[in-house]
Symmetry: C2
Subunit: 196 residues, 2 copies
């Protein structure tokens, strides 16, 4: 809306755009403060800034991607991160044959350079895109060098000490959830209340 030059908008419009209930949206926004005007709605630019400030979008976040295989390459090439304040400061891989390979103007470094990278830049978030077997080891090393936020694409549960935040993206599970619902749709019908 900011890009389109829209000055003001209602909670109904925002809710539709976000795909949620308008009451929920208003309640959520109310936790940030009272930034709307009754009878009018929200001023797009003002609200936008307030949300950005609250989520932490006003500062730049440094991320490191470990495991530059299929997925790692896609992530490294993705421009959608930088536009939201995320800057990839290093690409690391254990595979010797990948060293120095150029990905979008950044060359792949050895995984054991992680500590040096953290010292050089500050690193806020570590992304794990290695095979599942290596994931816990990579995670442990990240924690050792002081990284406290991890995004994990490997299909494993990572063990981390308290204070470290892990989020997992499991694409196979996403497909399975869809498949499960699909199976339900095709099912012979619910046992109870068949004619309801």
């Amino acid at each position: 809306m900011l890009d389109e030059g829209i000055a003001t908008c209602s909670s109904l419009e925002l809710a539709a755009a976000a795909g949620v209930n308008s009451a929920k949206l208003r309640k959520d926004l109310s936790y940030l403060g009272s930034y709307g005007t009754r009878g009018v709605g929200y001023e797009v630019e003002y609200l936008s800034y307030q949300i950005a400030r609250e989520i932490g979008l006003t500062q730049d976040w440094h991320i490191v991607i470990v495991g530059i295989g299929n997925l790692g390459h896609a992530l490294a090439n993705y421009s959608g991160f930088s536009s939201r304040g995320f800057r990839t400061v290093a690409l690391l891989d254990a595979d010797e044959s990948r060293q120095g390979e150029d990905v979008t103007g950044m060359s792949i470094r050895r995984f054991d350079e992680l500590e040096a990278v953290v010292a050089e830049y500050r690193v806020d978030i570590g992304v794990i895109a290695t095979p599942a077997i290596s994931a816990q080891g990579v995670c442990d090393r990240m924690v050792e060098v002081g990284i406290r936020s991890i995004l994990n694409f490997a299909p494993t549960i990572l063990n981390v000490p308290q204070g470290v935040d892990v989020r997992r993206v499991d694409l196979a599970s996403e497909l399975q959830i869809l498949a499960f619902h699909e199976q339900r749709k095709a099912a012979p019908g619910p046992d109870i209340e068949e004619s309801a």
Copy 2:
């Protein structure tokens, strides 16, 4: 556990592996039926089969990937899907210059062949990996040709008729959630109960 030849396991072990509370795990499993033995635990092979049956893993699911760019390539190359019963039956892209390109023994077809693909194979799930602007259009076409389950990687909310299931994977949001918590950790401290 099945691969490792473990015959039996307790809800505590399963809960640890899944990263959840053991009571929750037991309650969830209880919805499938009473497949455990008190004082012993669950028989791995038996439980594994029962879960597979319930989730829909006993049948093969056909998926189509639309938008074979950075992310689409990674998804097409990913072996983790097939091992869970998902088979990619077609790769589609609108870009003429990509036609016929070979990706893991499968050649990229034109997007307008979608209907033919659906007729040839049965297609259970459509994956959208196109830029955000194209996503709704691709989605509409998928719905038209009868696809009722969609996995969307584009950062947009898709409008679909009732009965169609959409799951969105928004990687930028995942990073933002981590960044938000990171900001909280570094914050000057909560206003209330500072010394608690």
